[in-house]
């Protein structure tokens, strides 16, 4: 992929993000933060590439540490989001 195609993906994704995030209900802003936290750990992809190459040991070890840190975030972020979302319930019966 050349720089311009990548830039295009980026700019379009910013617009998608803008519209998607405005449609998030304010009641779910905390889960929004924890889930964006989890997904931004997709940076683990870079960490995995670094860890997979044993050519430079320093680079491999930095990669492995990054894999561990990102994993805390991925597992912790999705799990805590799921825990929060499972608490949002509707009224059981209509009173009124």
């Amino acid at each position: 992929m050349d720089f311009i195609s990548i830039l295009s993906i980026f700019v379009l994704a910013c617009f998608v993000g803008y519209y998607v995030v405005w449609s998030v209900t304010p009641a779910l802003h905390t889960p929004l933060m924890s889930v964006t936290n989890a997904i931004s750990s997709v940076i683990v992809v870079g960490a995995l590439i670094a860890s997979a190459s044993a050519a430079v040991p320093g680079s491999k070890w930095l990669g492995l540490i990054a894999v561990a840190l990102a994993s805390v975030n991925i597992f912790g972020g999705f799990a805590v989001t799921q825990r929060m979302l499972s608490m949002y319930k509707k009224k059981e019966r209509k009173d009124g």
């Binding site: 933060m33 860890s51 997979a52 680079s59 805590v80």
Partner: protein, 478 residues
């Protein structure tokens, strides 16, 4: 032997694209609580696709070590996610942000040390000198920016964590000449990244990293506890831009899409928080708000106010047609949400309509109050946002303010000299009676201003710890 990232097979590119789409759908799901759980699972699927694709396309020699790293990290993450108190969510989110920032820095450093593995360099063999690896100039900028933003996210989030967790005072720490120091450091970082394209020596790279760690620290220390909802959203945004910058380096669409999503998400949340405080983003980032908060205390204590007991409160509310509960950070601090739900249930049993009104900046992070009420099993259709409920206070018998202060201050509407003038507030004073739960008359809200509401004829102060007071009221409701 390194694989060139720039010439990946089509299925790999499509897999990363699919992961990116899953992440978009994960956020889209949050438009309503019903669809949100499915959305979260879609997000997990996206992450699995991204990880498996990466592992499948790279050498598997180090796989055992990678798995060990993932199990350790994942285990720690799962334990934290299970154990964490809901009131501690702001700290947790700040801590998670710092990890994303650190991961970005480490990936950037790994890419700098081993650029061939990332396919961002060519081996140059000049005549009569040893060959060396030259990183593409564009990649150097992307890498430099990624590391800089990652480092700012890391050190900024660490400070935010310490402030939110109470390890560090929430009071702003103001250094002399801080604006000059901060702008100078930022300029130095940008200049060095530009210079990095000409000279890829380690000192340039590591100076950028070091200065960025420093600026993240310097940027957050002058910001007071009250502005934390903005700070935490801002750091959320930064962690996204860091991921996007690394995505540019790696030419990875999943990272770029995610980075853009998270970056805009944090930016929008910061905007919403700033608007809810009627402050400009610049003034929040410049910091110092709430620095002079101890001045007005003594004057405040002298004015006459009505003090009520739990018994009075229980009586007033049980006689009401409608009660609106206005929770704030104080409710979180004293963990009063469960007692509050019990009180609401008792009132409902007596035929009182109970609603909750949430100000966007109530608490220490966006949506903080909603999560706490959800934890206490309050149905989310009883919880309303500022704009949706504000007109109802005039037809309400009792407004029950618990742990909120500035977001109810009528001075924001009338007093032009007030530091919070212009901030949208909940019109609680329009209710027939305002019950205001507060620890003591001495303290002032985060903005350091006295609340005129305390001295109104229709206000009754309930001076006690929030949880104890609510429990007392519950007892009196029988």
């Amino acid at each position: 032997m390194a694989e060139a990232v720039h010439s990946q097979p089509a299925w790999v590119l499509l897999a990363y694209l699919a992961a990116g789409v899953c992440f978009i759908l994960a956020l889209r799901g949050l438009s309503s609580p019903e669809s949100s759980r499915r959305g979260n699972i879609t997000g997990m699927i996206g992450m699995t696709i991204a990880v498996v694709t990466t592992l499948a396309t790279h050498s598997l020699a180090t796989l055992p070590e990678i798995i060990v790293a993932m199990v350790i990290g994942g285990g720690v993450g799962l334990i934290i996610a299970r154990k964490i108190q809901m009131t501690a969510m702001p700290q947790l989110v700040a801590a998670f942000h710092s990890l994303v920032g650190m991961a970005a820095v480490l990936v950037g450093a790994a890419a700098y040390l081993n650029p061939e593995a990332f396919g961002i360099a060519v081996r140059v063999t000049p005549i009569a000198s040893p060959s060396f690896v030259s990183i593409y100039p564009v990649s150097r900028i992307e890498m430099g920016l990624g590391v800089a933003i990652g480092a700012i996210t890391f050190s900024g989030s660490v400070i935010a964590f310490l402030k939110l967790n109470g390890n560090m005072s929430g009071k702003p720490i103001l250094l002399p000449l801080r604006h000059l120091i901060n702008l100078g450091t930022l300029a130095a970082i940008l200049l060095l990244i530009a210079y990095f394209t000409q000279d890829q020596s380690p000192w340039v790279f590591f100076t950028v990293m070091g200065l960025s760690f420093a600026i993240g620290f310097l940027l957050i220390i002058p910001i007071g506890g009250a502005d934390m909802p903005v700070v935490i959203s801002m750091l959320n945004s930064y962690s996204g831009w860091a991921a996007a910058a690394m995505g540019f380096t790696l030419h990875n669409s999943a990272m770029i899409i995610t980075g853009a999503l998270v970056g805009s998400s944090g930016a929008i949340l910061s905007y919403i928080m700033c608007r809810a405080m009627n402050r400009s983003f610049i003034s929040v980032v410049a910091g110092g708000f709430g620095a002079v908060s101890s001045g007005g205390d003594s004057a405040a204590i002298d004015r006459a106010y009505k003090r009520g007991s739990a018994e009075d409160a229980a009586f007033l509310m049980s006689q009401a047609d409608q009660v609106i509960i206005v929770p704030g950070y104080g409710m979180a601090v004293s963990q009063a949400q469960h007692a509050l739900k019990e009180m609401a249930d008792k009132l409902k049993a007596e035929g009182v309509r109970v609603k909750y009104a949430i100000h966007p900046v109530a608490g220490r992070m966006p949506g903080h109050m909603n999560v706490l009420l959800a934890e206490a099993n309050v149905p989310y259709d009883e919880v309303f946002e500022l704009d949706d409920i504000n007109s109802e206070f005039a037809q309400t018998d009792v407004a029950f303010v618990i742990g909120a202060n500035d977001v109810t201050n009528p001075a924001a509407k009338s007093d032009k000299s007030s530091p919070i003038y212009g901030m949208p507030v909940l019109d609680v004073e329009k209710a027939r009676t305002v019950l205001f739960v507060k620890r003591s008359m001495g303290g002032v809200g985060y903005a350091g201003v006295d609340n005129e509401l305390f001295y109104r004829d229709n206000t009754m102060m309930l001076l006690s710890d929030a949880k104890k007071m609510v429990e007392e009221i519950v007892k009196n409701l029988g």
